[in-house]
């Protein structure tokens, strides 16, 4: 698969209070952003533990975006900070295991920033497109069978 025709698959964990409404707002105001992004809504960015991200990579997602509130207006006061702390651990793990660190991104998007959501998604999809398929993707897809999910 060459990089021209290659379409990255990206999962985005968006928090319920800021980033998810931002994505919603982007849809309502008809902002264009790539369809490569699949959104998973979580109650708080702090809930996104290393296991979420690693599972996504195990199931050959090519990039993972974690989007939370800004530190000051986190709905749970400390959730966004926790997300940032956990992100550091996840970053170290993914880098150690041989997945490029650019494939993982943490960003802060408030519910009013629909344009920022569209912009961040576009940029992130382009970054991952340049990197090509995930190092796990390049090889066999047998790891998929574990969770009963199959790629077409």
């Amino acid at each position: 698969m060459d990089n021209q025709t290659f379409e990255p698959k990206i999962v985005a964990f968006c928090c319920n209070w800021c980033s998810y409404p931002a994505a919603d707002g982007a849809g309502v105001s008809r902002l264009q952003y790539p369809t490569n992004i699949r959104i998973v809504r979580v109650m708080c960015g702090g809930r996104v533990t290393p296991s979420f991200v690693l599972k996504a990579f195990e199931l050959v997602q090519m990039g993972v975006l974690v989007a939370t509130c800004h530190f000051e207006d986190c709905h749970y006061m400390f959730g966004a900070r926790k997300a940032a702390d956990v992100h550091k651990i996840t970053e170290r793990l993914t880098e150690m295991i041989g997945i490029e660190k650019e494939r993982l991104k943490l960003d802060w998007i408030s519910s009013a920033e629909a344009t920022k959501f569209a912009k961040v998604s576009k940029e992130f999809v382009e970054t991952v497109r340049k990197l090509g398929p995930s190092p796990i993707k390049k090889q066999n897809l047998d790891v998929l069978t574990k969770s009963g999910l199959n790629e077409k």
């Binding site: 290393p50 979420f52 195990e58 651990i89 170290r92 295991i97 997945i99 190092p135 090889q139």
Partner: protein, 381 residues
């Protein structure tokens, strides 16, 4: 499906079960979780070997610590029956409840991909001498990953790896450390995932053969067990395997290791994999007692009767696990020892995690240290 359980029953001699219930009596899980009973599971396996057994969530609760095997008057090989049951259960889609959201399992399954470029050698500093090919290999295991994953409970399992290499260097051995070493697959195997276990095993064996190593030294008892017992079951491998405590014990009897004084009272936790699975009880004790001025006290339940650290293969970490850990820590504290000496990275992680609990109290607070770290610090140059 029915046949393979029947075969496992035959192989583990489960049909000899007297229904005496001594396994349930001694099981550390049953002590706290009254709904769990090894006897009932053996019974289910003998009676039918059907879905009733495979769908039972309790088959994943077993620590496979082998305490029941030691106690069983009929000599039933319960842990291998459990292993066979789990492999079967996985086939029909049953899965264990993984601790830490399955992060450890995900890491291992990602590692089962070939041509992965891991960056796991950061911890090796200039003081440690290693090579890329040679006779002796030191198998690190998943320690670099554990230290990152459990950085919130401030464990440093890599200290043991550094200490092991330091001791080997002191003995004049420059070990091979593979930069692309994978997980040994222990946890995937005990979680019933045979397919990915085999991939990891094949990769490791090939990589070790390429390095030209004949002898492998471990500091992690789980890796040691897997290489000694499980790899030869599925693959041809004729490596000589040794635990670091065996190396130390040998060196002490040859008078090649001399120690500084250490004026403290210590006690020792037998890891289930090293003790009951492989029968290594004396070597760690030889190493500890060789240190001058050190006072060594055994816990009430030690050697064959030692209680496991409460979780195995990153599965089913529950309140029962915590109760087991705290009970064991209290036992260690009761010996009036100042230091609890461990020789498994997972014991270190689990006990330190249990001590972080607010409810743990002072009775369960004891300083822990890995055996190799203790020895490496005390070696006279």
């Amino acid at each position: 499906m029915k046949n393979s359980i029947a075969a496992a029953v035959k192989e583990s001699k489960a049909y000899l079960c007297l229904e005496c219930g001594k396994c349930t009596g001694i099981c550390p899980i049953s002590r706290f979780n009254h709904g769990y009973s090894p006897r009932i599971l053996v019974n289910k396996a003998i009676r039918s070997g059907n879905l009733d057994l495979l769908k039972d969530k309790n088959i994943w609760a077993c620590l496979t610590c082998k305490l029941c095997d030691e106690r069983c008057p009929a000599g039933i090989d319960y842990i291998n029956l459990t292993l066979a049951t789990r492999l079967e259960a996985q086939k029909i889609g049953e899965e264990a409840i993984c601790s830490h959201g399955g992060a450890a399992q995900s890491l291992m399954r990602i590692m089962a991909t070939p041509n992965l470029e891991q960056k796991r050698m950061d911890w090796i500093d200039n003081e440690l001498k290693i090579t890329q090919s040679g006779e002796v290999l030191y198998f690190v295991g998943c320690l670099p990953y554990f230290d990152v994953l459990f950085s919130d409970i401030e464990v440093n399992t890599l200290k043991a790896a550094k200490a092991s290499i330091k001791i080997l260097n002191h003995l004049g051995i420059t070990p091979v450390v593979l930069s692309q070493e994978r997980c040994c697959g222990h946890d995937l195997l005990w979680g019933g995932d045979l397919e990915n276990f085999k991939k990891l095993a094949e990769y490791n064996i090939n990589e070790i053969k390429k390095s030209g190593a004949k002898k492998i030294i471990f500091s992690c008892p789980e890796g040691y067990r897997t290489f000694k017992i499980d790899y030869p079951k599925y693959f041809e491998c004729d490596f000589k395997v040794q635990h670091i405590t065996e190396v130390i014990s040998e060196a002490i009897s040859n008078n090649t290791l001399k120690f500084k004084n250490f004026d403290k009272v210590v006690t020792f936790q037998d890891p289930c994999r090293l003790g009951r699975h492989l029968g290594i009880y004396d070597e760690p004790r030889n190493a500890i007692t060789a240190v001058p001025d050190l006072k060594f006290i055994e816990m009430v339940r030690s050697r064959k009767r030692a209680i496991c650290c409460g979780v195995s293969a990153w599965m089913n970490c529950t309140t029962y696990s915590k109760s087991i850990q705290l009970a064991r820590l209290k036992e260690a504290k009761e010996t009036e020892a100042e230091l609890l000496v461990l020789s498994c990275p997972k014991c270190e992680i689990h006990f330190n995690c249990a001590m972080k609990d607010e409810k743990a109290g002072k009775q369960a607070k004891i300083e822990t240290i890995q055996l190799v770290t203790l020895i490496a610090d005390l070696v006279k140059e």
